[in-house]
């Protein structure tokens, strides 16, 4: 019985791996549960960094984050809530406030016309980027060796 258990667990492992991978349309990244980082340089020279929400052929939607502090404040109330940096309102729609290890972060959603964008670079989440090589290094050889020993 215990001899069959490793094989059974390998099946579970394969299912887990297959379940983890997913293909998410860039037009609906947020709904699909995919995190994509983006750094954007606009034609005006402004530089933005944040999380990409969607990318279509005419629009780029992203969440930018602003760490609340002395210079960065939340102003207004209810639907008129906005983020101000040194007294200047941040363009976009206020989404909410997230709590992180480094303090409270205000999230602002901003839609950009594709023509406004001079350049945008796309990034994977840091955790996923570092975990990928580790898993692919160990899982393949691990499965092979276990199968060799189990059969």
């Amino acid at each position: 019985m215990i001899h069959r258990a490793p094989l059974l667990l390998l099946v579970v492992l394969a299912v887990c791996c297959a379940g983890c991978a997913r293909s998410v349309p860039m037009a609906a990244l947020d709904a699909g549960g995919a995190d994509v980082g983006v750094a954007v340089r606009l034609r005006s020279g402004e530089v933005l960094r944040g999380r990409l929400i969607s990318l279509t052929d005419d629009e780029l939607l992203l969440d930018t984050h602003h760490r609340l502090g002395v210079d960065v404040r939340l102003e207004g109330s209810a639907e008129a809530r906005r983020v101000e940096v040194r007294g200047e309102a941040v363009p976009g729609d206020f989404v909410g406030v997230e709590s992180g290890d480094t303090g409270r972060i205000a999230v602002v959603r901003r839609a950009l016309d594709a023509d406004e964008v001079a350049r945008a670079s796309f990034y994977r989440p840091a955790g996923e980027a570092s975990l990928g090589p580790i898993l692919s290094t160990f899982i393949g050889p691990g499965i092979g060796l276990l199968l060799a020993l189990a059969i």
């Binding site: 490793p6 983890c20 991978a21 998410v24 349309p25």
Partner: protein, 150 residues
């Protein structure tokens, strides 16, 4: 003897369980946060308005075009020609992109697809295992059997 066999089986069980736990807990957990990789690169599948299906690593959106690296298998219809200080990849006599790296079996090629020509762009996320994993598994299976026979 029976005790040794039991210990070995328990060790295998523990190894399998560790692998499952690593993937299930670390891999499948959605990593929502603001920490992203230092270098750009996103595994994507792109279907163009011409019906072409491309896979590669999306680097950026520049001048209205998606810029990505893809692997083109080397063959008789694939050639590299130098023009104006850059190496271009030709497939059936048509330029498809610039050379990033020439490898034994394929050429890593940087291509551009205008955004309006990209019909479906999908991100492949959390794809931790691929063909490399399968090849490594087969290789280590035979290695393991050879070691066991010895």
């Amino acid at each position: 003897m029976a005790q040794m066999s039991g210990t070995r089986a328990a060790m295998r069980l523990l190894l399998c369980f560790s692998l499952c736990a690593t993937v299930a807990l670390a891999g499948c957990a959605r990593t929502v946060g603001w920490e992203f990789a230092d270098d750009p690169g996103l595994p994507v599948d792109i279907r163009t308005s011409g019906g072409e299906e491309l896979s590669g690593t999306l680097l950026e959106l520049s001048s209205g075009s998606l810029v990505f690296d893809t692997e083109i298998e080397r063959g008789e219809n694939v050639e590299v020609r130098r023009r104006g200080g850059a190496d271009y990849v030709y497939v059936d006599g048509v330029i498809v992109g610039t050379v990033v790296e020439i490898r034994d079996f394929d050429i890593v090629t940087r291509r551009r697809v205008p955004l309006e020509e990209a019909r479906d762009v999908s991100v492949r996320s959390r794809g931790y295992v691929g063909w490399g994993t399968a090849i490594a598994a087969v290789a280590f299976f035979f290695l393991g059997q050879a070691l066991e026979e010895q």
